[in-house]
Amino acid sequence: MLLSIKNLTAEVEGKPILQGVDLDVRPGEVHAIMGPNGSGKSTLAHVLAGRDGYDVTGGEVLFEGQDLIALEPEERASRGLFLAFQYPVELPGVNNTHFLKEALNAQRKSRGEPELDSVAFLKLVREKIKLVSMNPELLKRQVNTGFSGGEKKRNEILQMAVFEPKLAVLDETDSGLDIDALRTVSEGVNALRSPDRAVILVTHYQRLLDYIEPDFVHVLAGGRIVRSGDKTLAKELEEKGYGWLADEEAA
């Protein structure tokens, strides 16, 4: 098992959000987590990445059998967890290439692997940037600063391509993208699918799943996974909305 979440509860600023989440993810699988606004989807993504202020109050999360919650965010990254942000942060004054190189080498160093020199690194980035159809000029700019919505998302997927994580959590990666950007970002993600790599897609809408086909679809509502199924569940949600699930819950 790559990721095993058991009865996870978490709160944000003292407010309980996750109320007992169970989820198992194996290498190579793509899971979609869907749900209405406020259901806890993004909270789950941030708890996994280790953001301050997202406090785990119960349950456990094992990543390759080890307690993920006990690790610092940077340790989680080095062990192969990657979160693509819904709102990638702008870092004025920090050069994008420098950032990518520092991050990759920090991860490699933490894993006891040799750091890449500039030549090897640039070769790697040039190869990966093709996967996400990103304008190479953006590498020379400050991280995400003044990037369009689509450019920011592509930059996230570029990072994923460079870091080659074991588990990528994509938080609402489809939000704010026009159809062309959605297509290229999805192609980037698909190119990175592999038997060793799992993906969790957190999304409100079904349309992303037209481009990235999930193996499993889960519906998160009220801080718990209330329904799991295959990709046909996403279609059903598209037609009926989330209301019927809430009704079923109440019944």
């Binding site: 990445a49 953001r51 965010p73 942060v89 004025p92 520092e102 920090a106 400050q142």
Partner: protein
Amino acid sequence: MNTAEQTSTDLRALVQAAGSEAAGALATPGWLTPVRERGARDVLTMPLPVRKDEAWRYTPVGFLERQSYRAPQVAAPGILVIADIQHLLRPDSVGPRLVFVNGYHAPALSAIGTLPDGVTLTTITQAPGQLPVGLRQQVERVAEHRHVFSALNSALVSDGALIHLAAGTILDSPIEILHIAVGTDEPGICHPRHAIVVDEGAQARVVERYCSVGDPVYFTNAVVDVHVAAGAGLVHERLQTESVGAQHLTELRVTLSENSFYRHVAAALGGEWSRTNLQVVFAGEGAEADLNGLMLAGDKQLNDVHLDIRHDVPRCTSREAFKGILDGRGRIVFDGRILVARDAQKTDAQLSNDNLMLSRSAEVDTKPQLEIYADDVKCSHGTTVGELDKDSLFYLRSRGIPESQAMRMLCQGFAGDVLDRLADQSLREIAQELLDKRLSTSGAALVEGESGDAS
């Protein structure tokens, strides 16, 4: 009242000692004599700044009480050889270089090379009899001593660079003035004084650096006079990387004639106590001043910039962008005064001071002051004091970058606005390395403190 003779360092005694020494002790070209005399007179009558003085309220000069500073002796030739300072020299520095050790010119370490016609580059003690008039006037310019330290500098000038560009001369390679302090048996106080005159239509770049070998305790009391004539331009880069025990005061006075430009990029990163008084006087219409500064106040460092920008004539533009980074119990003082005279219509002045606090024990005292007596001007000011952005920090950490490194990257990003304006890669690197070093020494305490707060 606290007076000069009541501190451990008796400023008057310093002046008297210099006066009674053999005439050769302080080399004095004839034209400098009135400057020295006026300085000596003023030292006797001017008090030491005290907290009651608004301009010194947050920048006490208590170090003069704690230590007894003496005038350093003329460095014996060979006290430093080129190998000692090799690490301070910049590989991409191609221009002429004047080196001063403890305030005294060190010809063996300097490299003038061949200068194009129209460029005069010399020092006060080596100045030829027929100094260009503009330059001489600039050194002689005993503007009202605004405080006892500039009077002291006038009285005790050790040496200094004299730079003159004749009308129309364009010098591509930068002139570097390199100050090096080396430890002596007791703390020294030195008084360099530089003059830069760029005549009509000429252009130059001057790099001024203050650094040290080892970690000596000393007080640099510098005065720099700059005049940029009509249609001329000067790029002036200043890098202060003094030892952790040093005090540094620069009195920098700039006058700008019509349609001239002056670009100032400064990074004051070293010293225990550092202050720059930067005065820019617009004396001709259509001039531009672009002033940028970075101040670092690591633990127990004090870093002060006082601006006195005088828009006395119409249609001049000034930009003042100063940034501060504070850590530990560091302190930054910023006083940005812009005066727009009644006749100075169409003045365009924009001042900003942004500070990044890495520690809650640090302190910023920032005071922008616009005094506007004209009615058709475009002026603005803004100051900010903020902490590192938590979202940015998390973003970097989520990519595998450890917290302390993430902090340094964000600080470098913040400082980059200023440092990226330095023209040479090597200057940027010197500044970044020191910034990095200073931040990594006090960074550990911060991380502990922060997690303590969060829990």
